[in-house]
Symmetry: C2
Subunit: 163 residues, 2 copies
């Protein structure tokens, strides 16, 4: 076993994309910023998202069984910060332009790409849950550079002005 | 549902760290390059790794129930390519300097960080398996820039020469 602090320090070196994960239901829209997202298989298109079960919006994701993974572009650092802040769910969605695809979960404009998903399976592991999700629709946008998080700071990957 | 090709094209925009995942057993060392790795929880330190079950080394990971996640530094692109090539397991490990920590799975020198793990659980989903792994030891090195994969190309994040 390793100490939690040592694990977190080491994990800060695993570069990840920055994503805003959203859902919607009878209590409105909910969303949070997440780095723990990865591809599982393309047959059928499946990804997974890890979420802290003590997060205030966790139950909304469990109830709705839908989510969208919005993969942020390099210019969307402010949106990342909004969805990791103490703002209420309602206040968070006042930032950015939102639409929907198939499930109804909020889809952010100007991302690199957004994956609209059904949550097929939820597995709780320690403090977190792993959502296994089937992708039902994809919206790819024109952004060419991605926002990433490495060593506790934002960075960008790719070039903003090239095609 | 979405087409596999559309899913793969969209997923190419999800930036990820580049990792060499290794194990060892009675048939020797085995390893492959993987992007689908993410942190799950820090209590206890847990990460997950996705692997194609048709990979020739899959059964070795299932049998050994140990693995090391070697998170590549910016200068290790060649090692990434070696572990994604058609070289045999034996030939792959002729590249790089290797040691061990606790489990005995091969630990690569000069990475950003390496996580030595026990595989606690294996879940098959479509063509892939998700390994849930408890981290039992960590080796952090002095590299300051990471190797990442975005839009089907290698990039680096962070600065190679700063402390």
């Amino acid at each position: 076993m390793v100490e939690a602090i040592d694990f977190r320090n080491a994990m800060s070196l695993l570069t990840s994309a920055v994503n805003v994960i959203t859902t919607t239901g009878i209590s409105g829209h909910h969303g949070f910023t997440a780095s723990a997202v990865c591809s599982v298989t393309d047959t059928p298109g499946t990804l997974l998202v890890c979420m802290n079960t003590s997060s205030r919006s966790y139950e909304h994701f469990v109830d709705s069984k839908i989510l969208t993974v919005n993969v942020l572009a390099a210019h969307q650092q402010q949106i990342s910060q909004v969805f990791a802040s103490k703002l209420s769910s309602k206040e968070r969605f006042e930032h950015g332009d939102w639409s929907t695809l198939v499930t109804g979960a909020p889809v952010l404009a100007e991302t690199l790409v957004s994956f609209d998903c059904k949550i097929d399976q939820i597995q709780e592991i320690g403090t977190h849950a792993v959502f296994m999700c089937t992708v039902v629709a994809i919206q790819q946008n024109s952004a060419k550079a991605g926002l990433v998080y490495f060593n506790r700071a934002y960075h960008q990957v790719g070039h903003q002005d090239t095609v």
